[in-house]
Amino acid sequence: MSAVVLGEAMWTALGRTEDTWRRLLRRETGIRRIRRFDASTFPVTFGAEIGDVGLDGPALYYYLLDAVCDEAFGTLDFGAVPAERIGVFFGSEAVRPDLGELARRWQSREAPRLEELERHHPAGPAVAVAKRLGAKGPVVTLSIACTSSAQAVGEALWAIRRGEVDVAVAGGVDVLVHPLMVLGFSRLGALSVRNDEPDRASRPFDRDRDGFVLGDGAGVVVLASPKVAGRLGRSLGKITGYASSCNAWRITDTPPDGRGTRTAMEEALRDAGCSPSRLAYINAHGTSTQQNDASEAAGMRAALGDLAMKVPVSSTKSLMGHTVAACGVIEALLALRTVRDGIAPPTANLEQVDPECALFHVVEPLTVDKGVALSNAAGFGGSNTTIVVEAP
């Protein structure tokens, strides 16, 4: 059984839902020099930040969450569904702290306030959304690095399938353009250091890629069982399949043969009862790191066989950066939008395809069939997740 999409929203460095989509199709980038803090002394001075909000730290985090919920919930009448039949599934890492506050406490040896501890917890977003809706069904937080919100969507699908809930809200939010994130990922050597040309820094599958770009983002999707969906609103599409796998390889490396990606894609298609020949588009995880892109491409070739050079693939991270805990839901929604509108957004900066990343890459907006799409996510620690979506 599939789950019907009744509401959707995102906020990325490219703007709100419609702005993100419009600007992706125009190849406009959201990656620029960091303005949120003085990053001039940092190894990386750019990111895909959501600016002009005037907030930072947890305040920004929850502001984005509220905003995407406002948009996705719209006029949906949640009151028509018993509270026990509404579940909330969120992908979240720890909420990034307010750095000034953290430093002040270090100096004063003052303990964090109760509210601070509650809001910083990974479960904070799921709890906040559940309280907002008065939901009394499952309230689940999944913290699996960059696959977090993809798994949240998948687990929401399963909760609907098993009849546990009638309506499930799934999503993710993350604020990565933060001094500690820039420091931490720089120390790991995971970030692009193209400080002189930020707009060309995120270049998934390109031969000259040198790392990913940190981004801010939030996304949320409202799912319902087919039986209940008709009473609540208009269908924007369906989530039809989901699977995850674990590489069990190394903490930061991915297996060159892409076995985890392959397993997740094959199992998700099987779960959806969908043949690869029906695929109209794949939104790749495509981080722009050497290892991820080569491994993911190998996994996609293994999963798709002869179709690998025929199914259009793009990575929207090339224009809006890597939003980690939020990227799974955002990119699943972009995959759905692609097959709903019949046009695929491009991978920017893909000038010379790395031979190890050979696929049917979309480098200009491309007309595609209105049908079925996949969205891949992969994370530190070796988790892989694939979501299958279908146009209404």
Binding site: D38, S40, T41, F42, P43, E84, S92, E93, A94, L99, G100, L102, A103, R104, R105, W106, Q107, A111, P112, L117, E118, H121, P122, A123, V127, A130, K136, G137, P138, V140, T141, L142, S143, I144, A145, S148, E155, W158, R162, E164, V182, L183, G184, S186, R187, L188, A243, S244, S245, C246, N247, A248, R250, I251, G260, T263, F380, G381, G382, S383
Partner: protein, 308 residues
């Protein structure tokens, strides 16, 4: 619906290795809490429930240890006990973990080096602070890395997930493991939780959150169960410890009383539920555990040999 049974259990706590050690101290009414030489910010707690474990014999490579958080160490030891010699590359894995303390001390040096005129200078953080920021910090603190380390050490590539949510997270992971098997998504799954609250930051945060205090000491531990279909367990001739007959999670429910367990070994955060479940497996029963915000995971089971 596929019938799901428990065929393996492993635990580590302040009581020692294995679930029998927990049972022994529970039945003897003995505490494993100990005061440490460190006054730990003079918190109003009765002591600490600290595990004594050596993870190295469980590792594929000795050098992997430097990447492990304390919770990951405990998880690997408990997983090793639950799995025994069994290795199944398609096995699923679901792990409940707790919160990272609000300041673990890892970034303290970087922040202190970035002070200018009594305030944080972000510019200094990017220069002087950079070299003092431990490169392995992100790899020790991301919530899903407990799962990743267990998967790597035991070669588990099936469906996997990490639940976060304080005391309910571990039991919610077993609930999720039950679903993975009962819905045919995996043939077998290792599910449980691991957590450590015995560092100064976690203990202080726990007191502030009302989860630790007089009569509720910080502890640490890990517990896992192996769940699989009744059919595969029978085919492989495995000993069935119990059959899971119901599971769920929801936002509101009664809170079970785990005071007896916590009094003996301390509050083990996300590992508390799995430890209590593992200890109680030999008896028919039902267990409920609540987390701070009211989310609850519950399991019901029938102990011993399964009647067809």
């Amino acid at each position: 619906m596929i019938r799901v049974v428990v065929t393996g259990v492993g635990a580590v706590s302040a009581a020692g290795l294995g679930i029998e050690s927990v049972r022994t101290v529970l039945y003897e009414g003995r505490t494993c809490l100990a005061a440490t030489g460190d006054v730990r910010d003079r918190l109003p707690i009765p002591g600490y429930g600290v595990c004594t474990v050596d993870v190295v014999p469980c590792l594929r490579r000795k050098k992997d240890r430097k990447l492990l958080s304390r919770a990951a160490e405990l998880a690997i030891v408990a997983a090793s006990l639950a799995l025994g010699d069994r290795r199944d590359s398609e096995m699923g894995l679901v792990v409940g973990v707790g919160r990272e303390p609000s300041d673990s001390g890892e970034v303290e040096a970087a922040l202190l080096a970035s002070e200018r005129n009594g305030a944080l200078d972000v510019g200094l953080l990017g220069s002087a602070g950079l070299a003092l920021y431990p490169p392995l910090t992100p790899l020790r603190t991301l919530p899903n890395l407990v799962l990743a380390h267990v998967a790597i050490q035991f070669g588990m590539t099936g469906e996997s997930g990490t639940r976060t949510g304080e005391e309910a997270a571990g039991l919610a992971s077993i609930v999720e493991g039950y679903r993975l098997v009962s819905e045919g998504r995996v043939g077998a799954v290792l599910a449980g939780g691991a957590d450590s609250l015995v560092d100064a930051g976690s203990a202080r945060d726990g007191v502030r959150l009302g989860r630790l205090g007089p009569g509720r000491a910080p502890g640490e531990g890990a517990a896992f169960v192996v769940l699989e279909s009744l059919e595969s367990a029978r085919r492989a001739g495995r000993v069935v410890l119990a059959e899971i007959v119901g599971a769920g999670d929801q936002a509101t429910a009664a809170v079970s009383d785990l005071t007896h367990l916590v009094a003996c070994i301390g509050s083990c955060g996300a590992a508390t539920g799995p430890l209590a479940f593992a200890e109680a497996l030999s008896r028919d029963g039902r267990l409920q555990v609540a987390e701070a915000d009211g989310a609850v995971a519950w399991l019901a089971w029938t102990a011993g040999e399964v009647v067809l």
